[in-house]
C-alpha cells in the first residue's frame, strides 16, 4: 500500500464521519457519550493491523540527531572496537529491535569489532542472539566468532557492572555467554577495560541502561568513553539533556530507528535486502494511522466534554 492510497482512505473515512456528525448530531452525541471503550480498542486494532497487512511505509527524512548517530559510526575505521550494549528485552523489541539490527548492519559494513553485552535483563542475550543470527550469520557469514564479534552475555548488578568494567572488564567477564574463557577469545586478549572501546552503542529499554552508562561510564571518563544510544519513547525525554556533552546523540523510539535505517540503507543498502533492514520504517505506517485516530478521539472527547458542560449550564 502506498502513502497516497493511505491518505485517500483516511480522508474518505474522516470526511464520512464528519458528514454523519453534522447531519445526525443528536444521535451521534448520545452514541459517542456512552461509547463502550471496547469499540475504541477495536478501532485501534484496525488502525494498526490494516497498515501492517498493507505494508504501508512512508519516506523518512532523517533529523540532526539520527545523522549525528550515523556520523559517529561513520567516523570509525575498520578494526575499531565497539561495545554493543543491548539493554532491552522482548517486551521492548518492537521499538528497539529495528535500531539494534540497523546498528549491527552498519557496524558490519564498516568492518568494526563488536563486543556485545547486556546489563538489563537475563533475556538480553537472546536479543543479542537475534542480531547475530539475523544480521551477522546471514549477511556477513565471513565474520568469525571470537575474532570479529563476541557475545559476553548478561551480568546482573546493573550500574555496579558498569562501575567495574570501566576499570577491569575481565574481573566480571571471566567467560563469554557460551562459557568459553575470555582468555581464549582472540579479540578479548588485549582488552583490559571498556575505556579501550572506540565507541559504545547502547540500545536501552530502562533500568539499567543509557542513564547508567552515562552516569558511570561517559561522565567520569569523557575523554576515553564516547557513546551513542537508542532508547524507547518513554525514556527519550529524560535522555535529551545529556546531549551532546555526556551522550553524543540519540535515536528516540521507532521514529529514530526509521530515520537511522534510512541513512544506513541509503549508504549501504541494496534492493536484495527488501524490508529486512527497514522494519522501523514499516512500523511507522501503523504509527501514523494510530496517531491520527488518537488525535480524532481526543478532539471528539473534548467536543463532547464542552457540549455536556454547555447543556449542563443550560
Amino acid at each position: 500500500m502506498n502513502a497516497a492510497w493511505a491518505w485517500t482512505i483516511l480522508v474518505v473515512v474522516v470526511g464520512a464521519s464528519l458528514v454523519v456528525l453534522v447531519t445526525r448530531r443528536e444521535q451521534t452525541y448520545r452514541a459517542l457519550k456512552d461509547l463502550d471503550r471496547r469499540w475504541i480498542f477495536l478501532l485501534m486494532l484496525l488502525a494498526v493491523a490494516i497498515p501492517i497487512l498493507g505494508e504501508l511505509t512512508f519516506p523518512e527524512k532523517p533529523t540532526g540527531l539520527a545523522k549525528a548517530v550515523f556520523d559517529e559510526i561513520e567516523k570509525l575505521e575498520p578494526g575499531d572496537k565497539v561495545l554493543m550494549a543491548w539493554d532491552y528485552d522482548p517486551a521492548s523489541e518492537g521499538e528497539l529491535g529495528p535500531m539494534a539490527t540497523a546498528f549491527t548492519y552498519h557496524c558490519c559494513k564498516k568492518g568494526l569489532k563488536m563486543y556485545y553485552m547486556t546489563i538489563f535483563s537475563p533475556v538480553g542475550p537472546q536479543m543479542i542472539d537475534d542480531s547475530i543470527n539475523n544480521v551477522l550469520k546471514t549477511e556477513f557469514p565471513h565474520y568469525e566468532y571470537g575474532v570479529d564479534y563476541v557475545n559476553l552475555g548478561y551480568k546482573p548488578g546493573y550500574e555496579g557492572v558498569v562501575k567495574v568494567i570501566v576499570s577491569d572488564l575481565k574481573e566480571l567477564y571471566t567467560t563469554d555467554h557460551y562459557g568459553t574463557s575470555t582468555r581464549d577469545i582472540p579479540m578479548m586478549k588485549d582488552i583490559r577495560n571498556i575505556q579501550q572501546m572506540d565507541l559504545i552503542v547502547n540500545v536501552s529499554a530502562g533500568y539499567a541502561g543509557t542513564k547508567e552508562w552515562v552516569l558511570f561510564a561517559t561522565t567520569p571518563y569523557p575523554e576515553n568513553i564516547k557513546m551513542v544510544a537508542g532508547t524507547t519513547g518513554v525514556m527519550a525525554p529524560g535522555m535529551y539533556p545529556y546531549i551532546p556533552d555526556q551522550l553524543l546523540s540519540l535515536l528516540a523510539a521507532i521514529k529514530g530507528a526509521a530515520e537511522y535505517e534510512e541513512l544506513v540503507m541509503s549508504a549501504y543498502g541494496n534492493d536484495d535486502l527488501g524490508l529486512k533492514y527497514r522494519k522501523g520504517m514499516l512500523r511507522m505506517g501503523p504509527q501514523l494511522i494510530a496517531h491520527v485516530l488518537i488525535i480524532i478521539l481526543i478532539i471528539i472527547a473534548n467536543i463532547i466534554y464542552f457540549a455536556e458542560k454547555r447543556r449542563g449550564a443550560a
Binding site: V48, I52, G160, T174, T175, P237, K279, R283, Q287, H291
Partner: protein, 339 residues
C-alpha cells in the same frame, strides 16, 4: 443461547475452520525450522595436567590438528548438536538442492512454541474485552516462566562463573564450565558469606542477621549513586545549561541556534521559579511560575506522545508476529521466498 454467546461461538467456529484450512493447504502456516550444527570439544591437555577443552571450530583450535578427530580417545571428546532458528526459505532452498537433507529441518517443538505464543498473545489481548480464565492462565504462565528463567540465568551467568568459579575453579570447570580458566580467589568468600547472611531471614530465628548485609549493600549503592548523580546529573547539567544566547557560526549570526539557546535558558529559569517556594507565587514571580507550568506541561505532553508511540510500536510487533510469523499472511522480510 444468548445473542452474545451465539456471536462469539460463530466467531470462534469461523476462525477455527479458517485456521484449519490455512494450516493444511498451500504452503501452510505456523511452522518453524532450525539449522543443525555439530559442536565438538577436544581435551588437549597432556596426561596428569588439568583438562583443557578446545572447541574444534574456533580460532583457538587452529594451533591443533583436529582434522583426524578419531585419533583422540573417546573420553577426550565431547560433542553435541545445536539447533539454531532458520528461516523457512533456507529450508526450502536446501530441500530443493538436496531433497531429504538433514541440515535444515522442521522443528516440532519450536512450532508448538510458535502456536503457544500466538495463543498466549490472544489470551493477553482478551483482557481488553473483559477479564476471563484464558487471560488469567496467560498471565500466570508469564509470571511463573519469567521468575524461573531469571533464577536459572542468574545461577549460570553470575553464581557459577563469578562466585563459585572464583572459590572452587577446578570443581566448577569439571562439571559446569569446561571453558573456565580462573585461579582460586578466596576474597570471594566475603560475598558468599554476605549472601548466606542475606538469606538468613528465611530461618525461623536470627532474622536480624540479614540486616547487616542489607545495610552494607544500601551503603555501597548510596555511595555509588550519590557520586554519580552529583557529577552526571547535577554539576554536568549546570555546565550544559551555560550556553551563549547569541550563537555565531562560520556564516555569522545563527538565528535558529540562538533561538534554541534562548528557549533553553528561558525554559530552565521559568521552571526553576515554579519550584522556588521561598517567595509567594504572586505578581511577577507568580506569572513567571505560570509560564513554568506551561513549559512543564509541554514537556509532559512530549513525554506522553513518546509513550503513545512506544505503545503503538509494541502493538504493531505483536500483530506483525501474528500476521507474519504465525499466519504467514505477510512476508515483508522475504523469509518464505521459494516455499
Amino acid at each position: 443461547m444468548q445473542g452474545r454467546t451465539l456471536v462469539w461461538t460463530l466467531i470462534f467456529v469461523i476462525a477455527g475452520v479458517w485456521l484449519l484450512l490455512r494450516a493444511t493447504t498451500g504452503s501452510g502456516m505456523g511452522k518453524a525450522y532450525v539449522k543443525r550444527t555439530d559442536q565438538q570439544f577436544v581435551n588437549v591437555a597432556e596426561a596428569g595436567e588439568a583438562a583443557e577443552w578446545i572447541e574444534v571450530h574456533t580460532p583457538a583450535a587452529r594451533a591443533y590438528d583436529f582434522q583426524d578427530l578419531p585419533r583422540y580417545p573417546l573420553e577426550e571428546r565431547v560433542g553435541w548438536t545445536e539447533y539454531d532458528p532458520a528461516p523457512p526459505k533456507d529450508w526450502a532452498a536446501a530441500e530443493k538442492a538436496n531433497p531429504g537433507q538433514q541440515t535444515y529441518v522442521f522443528s516440532l517443538w519450536r512450532s508448538i512454541g510458535l502456536w503457544l505464543a500466538a495463543m498466549f498473545t490472544f489470551g493477553i489481548f482478551s483482557f481488553l474485552y473483559r477479564d476471563n480464565p484464558f487471560y488469567k492462565i496467560s498471565e500466570a504462565v508469564v509470571v511463573g516462566v519469567s521468575a524461573a528463567y531469571w533464577m536459572v540465568v542468574a545461577f549460570h551467568t553470575t553464581l557459577l562463573p563469578n562466585l563459585f568459579g572464583k572459590i572452587l575453579p577446578t570443581w566448577i570447570q569439571s562439571w559446569a564450565m569446561p571453558g573456565l580458566k580462573e585461579e582460586r580467589n578466596l576474597w570471594y568468600l566475603v560475598p558468599l558469606v554476605l549472601g548466606v547472611m542475606l538469606l538468613w531471614r528465611l530461618m525461623p530465628k536470627g532474622g536480624w542477621i540479614s540486616r547487616w548485609p542489607l545495610a552494607f549493600f544500601i551503603g555501597v549503592f548510596c555511595g555509588l549513586r550519590l557520586m554519580a548523580y552529583m557529577h552526571g546529573d547535577f554539576l554536568m547539567q549546570i555546565r550544559s545549561a551555560i550556553v551563549p544566547l547569541g550563537v555565531f557560526g562560520p556564516d555569522g549570526f545563527d538565528f535558529w541556534e540562538s533561538l534554541r539557546s534562548v528557549f533553553l535558558i528561558g525554559g530552565l529559569l521559568v521552571c526553576l521559579v515554579y519550584f522556588f517556594f521561598s517567595f509567594e507565587h504572586k505578581g511577577f514571580v507568580g506569572k513567571t511560575a505560570k509560564v513554568g507550568i506551561w513549559v512543564l506541561m509541554i514537556t509532559f505532553g512530549a513525554g506522553f506522545g513518546y509513550t503513545v508511540m512506544g505503545r503503538i510500536a509494541l502493538l504493531a510487533i505483536r500483530l506483525e508476529f501474528i500476521f507474519d510469523d504465525w499466519l504467514w499472511l505477510i512476508d515483508p522480510t522475504g523469509q518464505r521466498i521459494g516455499l
